[in-house]
Symmetry: C2
Subunit: 324 residues, 2 copies
C-alpha cells in the first residue's frame, strides 16, 4: 500500500527533530530502501523486535495515544537495557486503520519521540501501511505497531539470560506489580482510570549499562511478562532453579497502597530489570537513583520456589493475562 | 501474550537448521532479550522493516503458505539488494489468529527459511503473538508479519536513491509486470490461479552487490510498488526528472504472452532493481544471468515522461492497487 508522501515527510521531520548528538550514527534514515547506520567499532550489535497490537497489548479507549507510543518504544529499549547495551536507533512499522484521526497518530508519535529524545535514540526508519483496505462494517479497525531497536554493546560483553549459577543472588530494580494493578483498575472501571491509563514505564538503560560495565550481573532479563515467568526464562536458559523470598519482593504502591503480592509476582509490563550476581559481589543498594533489591537465590534444581513465612511452595511461572 | 514455549523452540530449531557458514555472525539468537550479532569491521549497517499483512498484502486463499513466507522475506532482502548490501540476519515478528492450523504456520516458515538458506541468512529473532485475543464471531482472524533484515555494506558505499544525475541512463533488471499480471489472473478467478499464486520473486542480491562493487550505479531502488512510483522516488530523492522509452521496457511473459505495458509500468512486487548510471559507464547486458535493460534517461526537470511511438506524455507515478 502507498502511504501518503506528506505523512512520511511529516514523520521524518518529527523524527529528525529528536536527533542531537547521535545524528552521526545515522548516515541515511527515513526515505531510502534501508536505513544506513555507522556500526561502532569493537562492539556487538543488539537487535530486538516487539509488537504492540491494539486489542492484545492495549485498548485505545484506555490509554492516551501518547502513552501507547511511549510504551511501544519502552518495550524495545527495555530489551536493550536487559543486555547491558546502548540503543543506536529505532525503527517503527505502523499499520493504521482507515479513518483513524490524525490527532491519534500525532499523539502516538509525540509519546514515542519524547522517550526517544530522552535516551537520544533516533527514529531511523520503518514501514507505514493501512491495517485494512476497507473498513469492515461495524469493525473499528486496529492499530498495529512493531518496534525494532538496534543497539550496541562492547564485543562479547552482552549480559545473557544463560549465565545464572547456583548460589547467585537474584535482584530486581524498582518496584513490581504497578502496571498490573493499573490494568486491574482499568478493568474495574473505577474512578482512577485516568491516572491508571497514564502510567509510563521508563526503560532501565542506565542500570543495565552500569551492571554490565561493572561486570556485576551474571544473567539479566527485563520484566515484561511478569516476575514468575521471566525468572523462569532465566532459569531455563541457565539450567538452574530459584528460591524467591516473598517478603523481599518490592511491591509497587498505587495511590499510597501497596499492590498485592500476586500482582508483583505475575503482573507484566513493569519493565524493571531482574538480574543475578554471585553472592560475593557487592551490588549497590541503588543505581541511577533506583533501589536494587535482593529477592532470592539461584539453586541447582530446575524448579522455582516461593518462600513465604518460612514455608516453601512451588512458584508456577504464570503471567497475568490482562485482557482475558 | 505468552506464546507456547514449544512453538518458539520449534521455530528456533527450524531456524538453526538454516545456519551454515554464517553461524559466526549470530552470537546469541532466538531466546534472549535481544539477538547479539557480530558487526563486520569497516562496514555500515543496513536496516529495513516491511509489513506483510493478510488482507492488505496477501489473501490466504490465493497463496500457499510457503509462498507467503517466501515473499515476506523477499520484501526485506530486496531492500538490502537495492543498497548494494549483504544480508546478515533476519528477524520476524509474527502474529497469528487463534485457531490457525499449524500446517499453515509450518508452511509459512518452510517458505521463509528456504529462501533464507538460499542466501545464507539466519533467522535470529523476532516476536510471536496472537493477532486477536478472542476470535470475533464470523471473523476469520488475520496473519500479521513484519520482517526485519539487518545487512552490511562497506562504509560509505551504500547505493542511495539520491545519486541520480541528469544525463544518467536508467536501467532495470529482469522483466516487469509479471507479479501484477498474476494478481490480475487471481482476481479474474481464471483457471490458471494455481500457477499465478505460486509466483516467488527472487531478491536481486547478487546484482545489487555487483553494481556496488563495480561502482556502476549512481542511484538504486527495488521495484516493490511499481516502476512509475519507484522511479519517481529516485527522482524526488535526487531532485531530477526522467524520460522512459515505452518500447524499451522489458515486459514479463505469463504463459507465453507478454503482459500489458500498464502492468509493467505500474504493477508492484516484481522485486527487480532499478538503477541509474552515467551514460559513459559500461553496464553489462547481464549480471548473474539476469538481463539488464536501459529504459530511459534522467533529465534536469522534476517530471516523469513516457516516450511512446515518438510521442512524449506525462508519466504519473501510480501503483496498481491490488485489492481495491
Amino acid at each position: 500500500l502507498r502511504p501518503e508522501r506528506n505523512q512520511i515527510e511529516h514523520i521524518a521531520r518529527q523524527a529528525a527533530s529528536g536527533q542531537r548528538r547521535r545524528r552521526n550514527v545515522v548516515r541515511a534514515g527515513i526515505g531510502d530502501d534501508c536505513a544506513v547506520l555507522r556500526a561502532p567499532a569493537g562492539h556487538d550489535l543488539l537487535v530486538t523486535t516487539d509488537f504492540t497490537l491494539e486489542g492484545v497489548h492495549f485498548r485505545r479507549e484506555w490509554y492516551p495515544a501518547t502513552v501507547v507510543g511511549h510504551r511501544c518504544l519502552t518495550r524495545g529499549l527495555s530489551d536493550i537495557a536487559a543486555m547491558g547495551g546502548d540503543p543506536l536507533a529505532a525503527f517503527l512499522s505502523l499499520a493504521l486503520p482507515p479513518g483513524l484521526e490524525q490527532a491519534w497518530v500525532d499523539g502516538f508519535f509525540r509519546g514515542l519521540l519524547r522517550l526517544a529524545r530522552r535516551f537520544d535514540v533516533p527514529l531511523a526508519g520503518g514501514d507505514l501501511a493501512q491495517s485494512e483496505l476497507r473498513q469492515a462494517p461495524g469493525s473499528p479497525g486496529r492499530v498495529l505497531a512493531d518496534i525494532v531497536v538496534v543497539g550496541a554493546v562492547p564485543s562479547g560483553q552482552a549480559v545473557l539470560r544463560s549465565g545464572a549459577r547456583p548460589g547467585d543472588t537474584i535482584y530486581v530494580t524498582g518496584a513490581l506489580g504497578g502496571a498490573a494493578a493499573a490494568v486491574a483498575e482499568l478493568l474495574r472501571g473505577g474512578r482512577d482510570r485516568k491516572a491508571a491509563g497514564s502510567y509510563q514505564p521508563i526503560p532501565r538503560l542506565e542500570i543495565g549499562r552500569a551492571l554490565r560495565r561493572r561486570r556485576l550481573a551474571s544473567a539479566m532479563i527485563d520484566l515484561s511478562d511478569g516476575l514468575s515467568i521471566d525468572l523462569d526464562r532465566v532459569c531455563e536458559s541457565s539450567g538452574v532453579g530459584a528460591e524467591v523470598d516473598a517478603a523481599a519482593i518490592p511491591c509497587a504502591r498505587l495511590r499510597g497502597r501497596m499492590v498485592e503480592l500476586e500482582m508483583a509476582l505475575h503482573g507484566g509490563e513493569d519493565y524493571e530489570l531482574l538480574f543475578t550476581a554471585p553472592a560475593s559481589s557487592r551490588v549497590p543498594a541503588r543505581i541511577a537513583g533506583v533501589p536494587i533489591r535482593a529477592i532470592g537465590r539461584i539453586t541447582g534444581g530446575r524448579k522455582l520456589f516461593l518462600v513465604r513465612k518460612g514455608r516453601k511452595s512451588l512458584l508456577r511461572p504464570q503471567g497475568w493475562e490482562y485482557f482475558r
